[in-house]
Subunit: 342 residues, 4 copies
């Protein structure tokens, strides 16, 4: 089958002919890929930025944001049948460690992360995953329409869901970055809270979209955004800041625009947060980390998507054009999410 | 009356003769001071380190950790009678803002902080506070025995109480710094959880005390403490780190010894936390700020104290010897807490 | 001034001429009433049904659902000025007990409940309340338009707010009774969750209104409603049931239609819940009590109302026509809420 | 092998010779039983009281409270090795449904309950369970010493853990029934909270034991217990009532001794709770259901047991004497828990 594989850092991945994956264990599932999202993290992987953390053996197949149809199942699989339409949680988990038993999938001590840790991902015709990673969808769903929810979506949803208890009516929530993840975050906030949403972005187009999706206020990230948030909040700051950028200074701005007693929630990465501890304690502010989300959260997000409360902008490419899709993403030519369709 | 007043930064405070405070509003309470704690924050105040944040007008009376007896009450006070033994929450609050109405005393938008913000504190014979700041005690209580719970105690208790839901049996909680606040924190952990407590401190004496108060493990802060915590936790780190130091590198060590999905909770101050945002998100760690505590938390702490579950080491000085007490604290000659007795 | 006073149980209240209330304590506030809601509880009061619980001395002025303008303030009041437009939390509280300090206004150990406990209520030209009961409104607000939120609204909002954490996307919430409180509850659910709302009511008109306000499904309460809920939930039952009726069997139906692990939340009253304890434990279901709500919840609800997310149907009557308003309510002739305007 | 099987309701179970269980699926585990607890629920089963709820096919092997050693594992089992010492969660779960994915094992939609639902239980030499039900223990642990924690223990721990957030210092928690489950509950309260524990029981011996295990007050259940709790709580009632009896009137007493805003938590069964809905709402009390507990909770409880914070009184019988053990339990001749040892 065809698969988009990374052979060397700082070089483009290549479409190779490789054997189809096979069932190895009783809970394995082979999925015929219907759509594989192209993510900024793929650009980071190519640049070797995840090498230290994940230490994968090259070459391997990219693609950590996948949906498709069940093609084959192991003999211990009880929740799926061949032909089922599924979206895949990015991490097949063990189901046995304390984190799994508490529903904290991302803290599984024995999980893999196909497309990121050296395990073959979904930019291919077929993908091996586990029964525990498959969320069954209505058969009428087109995998390519929802694939981007498997990583961008779940991550934004997870971050929003954690701060819902802080966002009663009368509060303000800043969203920094209304791109692939952020524009889903804005929709989740609108669906699940009555907070006042303020979106900060460099791009006027992104701000315009954010307003259509439910933001009450928008601020151009031109250096005035901290003052802008203070101005909208009587000088107090925002109760919650969701930072989908967290690099190039956004991280310190994000903390600065957080109100006393408030929470600065980090979803993006690349920068360094620097905070004097007296600023943490004298105002009792919190910093919240976020990584992907749980299996149940992905299922919940699919409910929002199927009721039309979260919608996605996507642009599809044939699998063979993976390099073009990556190039378009890198050059800022993709609005919403690029999806490879095998 | 006698009062210990700060006239100029970088100079010792002086025992002055000043008029007694008087009732100014219907909820005012005049307290005859029975004990006023001497805190490291007083040393910081003298060095001008709180000038920027609080901008107090000099001179004013120090002392933000007080207990005593009700001497006079305003005509709107319904919860106290002259003669009642009381410990004072450090911040008289308005009772009317959203924070007060939610029980978040420390986020009151109209509070004062006697002894810190230029309002006269408790290193004096009498102190003006408010009905809302007084926690009534059993009449047999000696104010000088409990005064240190009014600030050191409530702050440690507040930080512990917030992390109780994270500390189920089988978890590990690191306490950095087993001094004035930390040794109370260890006792609160022992009284309210079954977590494994690991105490980190430079002083062998402090570690010995910590062990007596309930710590299961102690580590000398000699540069090996991050590795030490990893060693005690199968290389995973601690579920919660309570950092009562948060300066001179403790803050970055504290974050480093926190497990994936764990929380680094800041109580001390003076240093600067520096964390790449990828380290926050890839492990989903949190940073929690803490400032003093609520009125109800002070009342709860007094229950622990009165049942013997939290005990204090104190050393008393006459009010006239305030300079000596401050000098002893600065030189590390006070074990536990120094208390001025007017 | 004119006031609607109850002189004897089982007799209609009478419009009397009585002296205007005066400031008695430093935190007292005299409000010129702009609107006083007429509530089913007033009918219960007249029938003596609250006599045992509250034991009021007759005669007294009815009216526990009030909004108006600040007319005079005590000398300790700092949060209000004469002329301010205000809606009143039903219970002036002490601000000093543990419940008040935790934001649990309804559990204040020293509160009054004007219009219910023998303290004079708001069916009058003026009302004495406390600074702690007044929520300031935008000056353009007409008190008669919002008065019904002071009791019906806060109670529905409080019940909904408590169950938000249980109502993630994919859950089902049943609302029993879409009358005065219930139709506000449906709007709160739509504003604050993405749960599937199922409304049960005897009246087709109420069900039609519920659908317009955001209910996904409606069921006529004709005896088939438990089966109806099972049918909509794959035989499992609803994750949460909000029972605004809780009499005449609704209470046992409500528990019966609650899913394993779910919560049956009681807001109405009059019936008797009878549950074998094996049914409570074998399915691990909960029963949640609700009484009015907190001051902050009333403020939050006003945010929803001012943004148009919660709207009310009201019908106004001059104060002099109080008997007619009560009769209309009793006869089912009021759609939404009857409001007396002095 | 030998197995204690129930052939007919209202007749004693019989020790039969039956084939050993075999591995049927990839996650199956065969456990050599080291200890099987004898529970009051076994008496109820024999009387047919679980027939309607569980509808088991007779005969089947009793025993839902088991510990032992891993004897054989399926080919998908990754968390266990032959020879491991294990205690068994009572319910092998699917690991795939929403409840399992949220850590809510007891609400698994595809679980079995060996010894209760017709699946063979642990009163036998060998038992088939699943990898997901096994909690690994220190190899030095004697299964017969801990088996009673597998059901009595987890159930008491689960109920206590859920109310910890309600039990800050200064609160009161009543425990009704200090028998098999209750005496574990008292120890869990002492280990995990600083609440004041009041134990109610008919038996002076049980009360004496409760006091040794950490109860501050004891009350004989002679009809004066509601008044007794009121007397100990200034007439307010207990913040939390844990009812391990919930029959013969204890259930209504339990609700009656619950404070306004408090929670009545049901663990026992057999009675019928009858509460006017006005009593639920006017005081905003809650009723909390409890059923067994989660896998992680069992693991946490084992930590408490291994550190000596929870200890058990047990009396062992050879498997062949199962009838005698059941008779002793029924006659009140067992102090603590009877354990069958094959």
């Amino acid at each position: 089958m065809k698969a988009v594989r990374l052979h060397e850092y700082h070089q483009q991945p290549v479409v190779d002919d490789v054997p189809e994956p096979t069932i190895q264990g009783p809970l394995d599932v082979i999925v015929k890929v219907g759509g594989a999202g192209v993510c900024r993290t793929d650009l980071h992987i190519i640049l070797g930025q995840w090498d230290a953390a994940m230490n994968p053996t090259l070459p391997y197949t990219l693609g950590h944001e996948n949906a498709g149809w069940v093609h084959e199942i192991g003999d211990g699989v009880t929740n799926l049948a061949v032909g089922d339409t599924v979206i895949l949680h990015p991490s097949p988990t063990c189901g046995l460690c304390r984190a799994c038993r508490a529903g904290q999938d991302m803290h599984c001590t024995a999980s893999t992360f196909p497309g990121l840790d050296g395990t073959d991902g979904g930019m291919a015709e077929y993908l091996r995953t586990s029964a525990r990673a498959c969320v069954k969808l209505d058969p009428s769903t087109q995998p390519q329409d929802v694939a981007a929810l498997a990583d961008a979506g779940i991550t934004a949803y997870h971050a929003v869901r954690k701060v819902i208890p802080l966002l009663h009516p009368g509060t303000t929530c800043v969203v920094i970055g209304a791109g692939g993840l952020g524009h889903i975050g804005v929709q989740c906030l609108a669906a699940l809270t009555a907070t006042t949403v303020v979106v900060v972005d460099r791009s006027p187009g992104a701000l315009e979209l954010a307003q259509k999706l439910g933001a009450q206020h928008t601020l151009v990230a031109d250096g005035s955004q901290v003052a802008g948030v203070q101005g909208l909040t009587d000088g107090i700051g925002a109760d919650v800041v969701l930072d989908f950028v967290a690099e190039e200074g956004a991280e310190n701005d994000g903390f600065a625009m957080t109100a006393p007693g408030g929470s600065y929630s980090v979803i993006g990465y690349g920068g360094e947060l620097r905070v004097p501890t007296i600023d943490i304690i004298s105002t009792e502010r919190n910093v919240i980390g976020n990584i992907v989300g749980t299996y149940n959260e992905l299922a919940e997000l699919m409910v929002l998507a199927q009721s039309g409360k979260v919608t996605l902008h996507t642009k599809t490419y044939p699998l063979a054009d993976a390099q073009e899709a990556l190039a378009d993403l890198d050059a800022g030519r993709v609005r919403g999410r690029a999806i490879l369709v095998p």
